[in-house]
Amino acid sequence: MTILTEAEAKALLTKVLSYSKADECEVNLLSEERGNLRYARNEVSTSGSVTNRNLAVQSAFGKRVGVATIDEFDDASLEKVVRRSEELARLAPENPEYVGVLGPQQYLKANGFFDSTASISSADRAAAAGKSLTLTRDANLVGAGFLEDSYGMRAMMNSKGLFAYYPSTNVNFSLTVRTPDGRGSGYVTRGYSDFTKLDTSSATRIAMQKAQASADARALEPGKYTVILEPTAGAVLIENIYADLDARSADEGRSYFSKAGGKSRLGDKIVDDRVTIYSDPTNPELPASPWSGDGRPQEKTMWIEKGVVKNLAYSRYWAQKTGRKATPYPGNLIMLGGNSSLEDMIRTTPRGILVTKLWYIRPVDPQTMLYTGLTRDGTFYIENGRIKFPIKNFRFNESPIIMLNNLDALGKPERTVSTESFSNHLIPPMKIREFTFTSLSDAV
C-alpha cells in the first residue's frame, strides 16, 4: 500500500465535504501501515502487518454534533458516511461545549517522514531481528524482542477552509535478554523516525551486558537513596507530568496542578530551576505533527521553564470560558539536560543506585502525583564513582514533582521509548537525591 499524498488527501477530503449539508463539517483522515516481528526464547514467535485507513466525518447542526467513520473510500461510501454523521447529529442532544470548527491555520514545518522507514520489508525486519538473535544465541543468552514499524499520514479539512496534512514514520525496537538460569536480565529500547538509525546489534549488546552484569544481585535495605535514572527509567515518570497538564482539571480543583482556593499552579515554581520541559514539532531528533487533532497549530511551547509552570493545556471550550489561549495538548516531550554523560554522573556519585528501567507505574495519589512501580532488568549499586555490584529490584513510591525538587544533576538528553505508553521522548539521565524505595522484590 502507499499512503495518500498531500494532493490526493486534499482531493479526497474536498470530495467528502462536497456531500455535506450540515451547518459545519470536519473530516479527519488516517492512512497507515504497521509491521511487526516478535521473538522469544531466541525464536521468532509471531510476525504480522496491518493496513489501516479510516475517515471520520463530524457534522454539526447548531450545537448538535454527530461523528461517523468509514474505511471504504468509493464515492457511494463517502456520501453514505457524510449522511450517517448528519443523521447522528440530528439525533444527538445539544452539546453546550461545542465551539464550532476552526478556520484556516498556519502550521510550522515538521519532518517526521523517512523513506527508509516507509519502505521496510518483512526481509528488513527479519534481518534486523536476525542480527540480534545471532548475538544472543552465540552468547548462550536468551532474547525476547519486538520490532514494530509504522508509516502513515493524517489529514483534516473542514467547511471553514482549514486543511492540514502530516506524514510520519516510526520504528520502535525493544529487547529483553536473560541469562539461561534466569538470574540476570537486561533491557534496551530504541525509537527512531528514520530506520537507518536503528542498530539492533549495538542495542542487543547493551541488553546482553546488563543481563550478564545483573546476575547474583544482592539485597539492599529499602529506603531513600541517590539514584541515577537512565532516560528509559526517567521517561515513565516525567511523562506522567504531561498526562496531568489539563487546565480544566486544575481549575476544577482535581489535579496536582490545582491549588487551595480554586486556583491553579500556573505561574508557580514547582521544581528545581534546572528543569525545563517543552514541546516542539520541529525538533529534528523528535519530530511531531505540527497540528493537533482538532486542527490547532502545535507551536514550540514551554510547559515547565526553569522550574516554573508556564502553560497548561486547554480545550477550545475551556479556553473560551476562562479567557485563556487555547494551547493544545503537546505532541512531543522534550526535557532539557546538561552535557555530562551517564558515565560522568556515575563517576561523581559517592553512593547511589543506577536504575536502568522502571516497570508497572501506577498512580497512587493524584493530589501529589504519587506513583508506585518497580525497578527492572538491571539495577546496580554505585560506590565511590564506580558500579560495585547488581542489586535486587526495589518497589518505589515517589512523585515526579518531589523527585525534580531533589535534582542533583542532568545529563545529555536521548530519544527513548516509554515502556508504559510506547511514546518516544527526549529525556536526559537524571541524578536524584532521596528517591523513595519502599520494599524489595525478588523478581529478575
Partner: protein, 535 residues
C-alpha cells in the same frame, strides 16, 4: 478532535462507527459462515497446511460516556472480518482480512497464512506440537442474557447515567463521570478438527467516578463504582434485593443498582476528605470480593499463565516466579491450606465464559492451587505437552478477528471457605485491622512477587468492631507470603465476581475480559503504608 471512535485505543482495529440501529442487524447466517469457513479450511489444506482454523468475527461495541449533566460521547462501532491460522511445515502462520464475504476472499487469506507459515518455518528450530482435539461438529453457545442492552434505546441508557450523575451531585459530589460499556462478540470458529462453533458473547460494565473537593484546603477525594464488569447484558442493571449485600456499604452480586451506589459514593467521597490518615504498620486485612478480584488477577491469574512461565512474554508483561520446578515438586505452598484457586471458563455470567475457546477446545473448570499447593497452570494446545497433559484446558483467545489467538487468562477464583463463616463473624475476630472494599491503585513486579494495592473504601477495625473510615491506605506484600497469611475465608453465601474489562497482554497488545470470584477473606499481619505526601 472529531473522530470519536479514535479516542479509545482499546477498540479493535478496523472498527467503524455505525448508527445504533446497525448494531441490531443480524450477522451472517450460520450456513453462510460454514460455507465461507470450509472454503478457507480447504484452501489451507490444499496449500499444505496440516492444521487450520478460521474465526469469522463480528464485534459490536457501544460506549456511553457522560459527565455531570452532559453526554460527552456516544460510540457505536462494528468490526467484521476473518482470521485464518494454519500450521504448515511445522510452523504457525496467520492472516486476516477485513469484511470477507466470498469463498475467494477466504481462500486468499488461507493461502497467505500458509505462505507466512512456510516463510517463518525457515527460522524455526522446534516444530509446533499441537495437542489433539476431537471435533464437535456444528455446535453453538449463547450467553444466557435476559435483556440485550443493544436493544435498549440509547436515550434510556444515557438518561440512566445522567440520573445517576444528578444523584451524585445532589449528595455532595462536585464532579461525576460515568460510563456504560457494552460489548457483543459474535464469533464463528471452524477448524480442520471438525468443529464449527457459533457463539454469542455479551459483556457489560456500568461504572463511574465521583469527586469531592474541599476548596479551602485544595484537597480532593474520589470514589469509584462498586459494580463489576460482567458477562451479562442489561439484566445486570436490573437489580433484585437478593443481589445486594448490605453492611458498612452495599455491594452487589448478579445485579447492580447504580443509583443507590452513586448516592453512597458521593457521601463517602466527602467523608473521605475528613477521614483519618492511616498509621503505617502491620494490620490484619479483611478484603471484600470487590477488592480481592484484582489481587487474584495480578498475583495468581498472571503468574500461572504457562506462556509467561516459559518466557514468551519476557520482553513485556514478564515471566513468572511460579516456575515448572515448583509445580513438579508437588509441594510448593502457594498459599495457606485454606487457599484453593480454580480456573473456570464455564462460570455463569462471568466475563470469560464461552462454550469453546478460540482453538476449538470445550471449556472447563480445573484446579490451579489445591489446599495451598500449586497443582496446575493455564495453557493452550501448543503448550500442554510441556506440563505432561494431552488435552488443552481451553485458554486460547484473540480480541478481534484481526488478532492472532494466544494464551489468555481464564476466570480464576478463590474458592469459598468450607466452614460456615459470615463477614460479621470474621470481623469480630480481628483486633487491629483494615477492611478494604473496591479496587484502587495496583502494581506488581514482572515475576509477580512484590505487589502494592490500594482500594476505594477503607475502614479501621479495632477489637472486632469497625470504628471509622481511613484514607491514604495501600498494602505491600509478596505473593507467596500474602496468600500464606490467609487465615479465614467466608463461605459460599458471600461469593461474588469482580473482573477486568480491558486486560492487556502481548505485543502488539490485545485486550481480554476476565472475571475473578471470591468471598471475603482475612490476611494476617500485612504491611500497610501511608500514601500521603507533602509537597
Amino acid at each position: 478532535m472529531g473522530a470519536g471512535s479514535l479516542l479509545l485505543p482499546s477498540l479493535p482495529a478496523f472498527s467503524r462507527t455505525v448508527a445504533p440501529e446497525a448494531l441490531l442487524e443480524p450477522g451472517l447466517d450460520v450456513s453462510v459462515k460454514k460455507r465461507l469457513a470450509d472454503a478457507a479450511l480447504n484452501a489451507a489444506k490444499s496449500k499444505g497446511a496440516t492444521y487450520a482454523d478460521v474465526r469469522i468475527g463480528r464485534y459490536l461495541n457501544q460506549f456511553v460516556i457522560t459527565r455531570e449533566d452532559k453526554v460527552e460521547n456516544l460510540i457505536n462501532t462494528e468490526s467484521f472480518g476473518v482470521g485464518v491460522r494454519v500450521i504448515a511445515d511445522g510452523c504457525w502462520g496467520f492472516a486476516a482480512i477485513v469484511d470477507a464475504r466470498s469463498e475467494t476472499d477466504m481462500a486468499k487469506a488461507a493461502e497467505k497464512a500458509v505462505s507466512i507459515a512456510k516463510a517463518n518455518a525457515t527460522l524455526m528450530k522446534t516444530p509446533v506440537q499441537l495437542a489433539p482435539q476431537k471435533g464437535f461438529g456444528e455446535v453453538s453457545w449463547k450467553a444466557p442474557i435476559k435483556t440485550n442492552a443493544f436493544e435498549v434505546p440509547i436515550k434510556e441508557k444515557a438518561d440512566l447515567l445522567l440520573t445517576a450523575n444528578s444523584a451524585a451531585l445532589k449528595n455532595g459530589a462536585n464532579f461525576v463521570n460515568s460510563q456504560l460499556f457494552l460489548v457483543n462478540e459474535q464469533k464463528y470458529f471452524a477448524s480442520t478438527d471438525g468443529t464449527y462453533a457459533d457463539q454469542d458473547i455479551h459483556r457489560i460494565w456500568p461504572t463511574f467516578t465521583v469527586t469531592a473537593i474541599d476548596p479551602k484546603t485544595g484537597k480532593f477525594e474520589t470514589r469509584q463504582a462498586l459494580s463489576a464488569p460482567m458477562g451479562m447484558s442489561y439484566d445486570y442493571l436490573q437489580a433484585n434485593p437478593t443481589d445486594k449485600i448490605t453492611g458498612i456499604t452495599t455491594r452487589y452480586n448478579m445485579g447492580y443498582d447504580i443509583l443507590e451506589d452513586i448516592t453512597a459514593a458521593a457521601k463517602q467521597a466527602k467523608q473521605k476528605l475528613s477521614a483519618k490518615s492511616v498509621e503505617a504498620g502491620k494490620y490484619d486485612l479483611v478484603l471484600d470480593p470487590s477488592h480481592t478480584w484484582l489481587t487474584i488477577h495480578e498475583s495468581v491469574g498472571h503468574p500461572l499463565e504457562l506462556d509467561r512461565v516459559l518466557g514468551y512474554e519476557a520482553n513485556f508483561a514478564g515471566t513468572s516466579f511460579a516456575t515448572l520446578d515448583k509445580w513438579e515438586s508437588k509441594n510448593f505452598q502457594y498459599g495457606s491450606k485454606l487457599v484453593n484457586f480454580f480456573a473456570d471458563k464455564t462460570q455463569p455470567n462471568s466475563l470469560g465464559a464461552v462454550g469453546w475457546d478460540d482453538e476449538g477446545v470445550e471449556t472447563q473448570r480445573w484446579d490451579l492451587v489445591k489446599d495451598g499447593i500449586l497443582v496446575n497452570y493455564q495453557a493452550i494446545r501448543d503448550q500442554v505437552h510441556i506440563i505432561g497433559e494431552t488435552h488443552s484446558q481451553g485458554c486460547c483467545y484473540a480480541d478481534s478477528w484481526s488478532s492472532v489467538q494466544f494464551q489468555r487468562m481464564a476466570n480464576v477464583s478463590l474458592a469459598a471457605g468450607k466452614t460456615p463463616l459470615s463477614v460479621a463473624e470474621m470481623i469480630k475476630d480481628v483486633e487491629k485491622g483494615v477492611y478494604i472494599i473496591g479496587d484502587g491503585s495496583f502494581s506488581i513486579d514482572q515475576q509477580r512477587y512484590n505487589f502494592q494495592f490500594g482500594g476505594q473504601l477503607f475502614y479501621e477495625i479495632k477489637n472486632g468492631q469497625i470504628v471509622g473510615m481511613l484514607k491514604d491506605v495501600a498494602y505491600q506484600s509478596n505473593t507467596r507470603e500474602f496468600w500464606n497469611s490467609c487465615v479465614a475465608v467466608c463461605d459460599q453465601r458471600d461469593f461474588r465476581l469482580g473482573g477486568a474489562f480491558f486486560d492487556g497482554k502481548g505485543q502488539p497488545m490485545q485486550s481480554n475480559a476476565v472475571s475473578h470470584g471470591s468471598t471475603t477473606a482475612r490476611f494476617k499481619g500485612v504491611n500497610v503504608i501511608n500514601t500521603a505526601r507533602k509537597i
